[in-house]
Symmetry: C2
Subunit: 128 residues, 2 copies
DNA sequence: TTTTTAATTTATACTTAGTCTAAAACTAGT
DNA sequence: ACTAGTTTTAGACTAAGTATAAATTAAAAA
């Protein structure tokens, strides 16, 4: 594992993700950088997000929306999305390992990762 | 529930999805239609895929790739994607309901759907 | 059967998210 | 300071999908 090289830009972007508690998209990151008076090239933000993801400092979430979201919580966990308001919450409940083992056996795959997206309606949308 | 109106185009597209056993993307559908000598407007294919999805005849799969895939198997099941060759297989193992109940309780959400994408390496990629 | 209305398809322009490229600007090591 | 390697920048480009307005088809009414 190589040394992680956190340039000014990468650090600033990493901080945005860490401060955020709403799983921002690349577009969100660009906007928040601008609010802090920092404006980096379009491609730099995407490159940095990929670099941070590859380094394991953040996680890329593909939740079935058009844009990827990013999360600084790298511990194994899943997400639940509200189909009404778009809000994303963390799901810490661990996936039953027997279930995963059964899948590995059934399919012959070696399982590496599971991205689970649960869709539902959040409390505040359910009670108007 | 309204009556389902299967036009010529929608029927042809539905058939492509039914015949396929590889979860084709919209692009794949357009190509296969062309091979059959059928060429519909770009937007028609997208509209039809959405119509068929909304009617419950097919399912849209968002597997974290750039393009959605479509599946004529509408029974509840999940998918496993090979990170090497991109192949997609069905996972019929049912999700443990206690796990889902726990999540509903923990998060306060009313759970509607779960799209689970398991990533791994398929048998033929594992043994070269 | 003609007329009217509604739904669908078509062609094309547009949007969004993200990649690619080549030049310029840093950063390290000598 | 000089060179090599890495990053950033600006801007062109791509892929997937949406929006729109006109043309076509289908359905309903008269």
């Amino acid at each position: 594992m190589n040394k992680i090289n956190l340039t000014t830009q990468r650090k600033a972007i990493f901080e945005i993700i860490q401060e955020a508690h709403d799983h921002p998209t690349a577009g969100d990151v660009i906007e928040r950088l601008r609010l802090k008076g920092k404006q980096y090239a379009y491609g730099t933000v995407y490159n940095s997000l990929r670099y941070l993801t590859d380094s394991g400092l953040i996680r890329e979430l593909k939740l079935g929306e058009t844009a990827s979201r990013y999360d600084a919580r790298t511990e194994d966990h899943q997400h639940i999305v509200c189909t009404q308001c778009g809000r994303v919450d963390e799901v810490m409940a661990e996936l039953p390992s027997d279930w995963l083992n059964q899948i590995a056996q059934d399919t012959g795959y070696t399982v590496h990762e599971t991205q689970i997206v649960i869709e539902g309606v959040c409390k505040s949308c359910a009670t108007p």
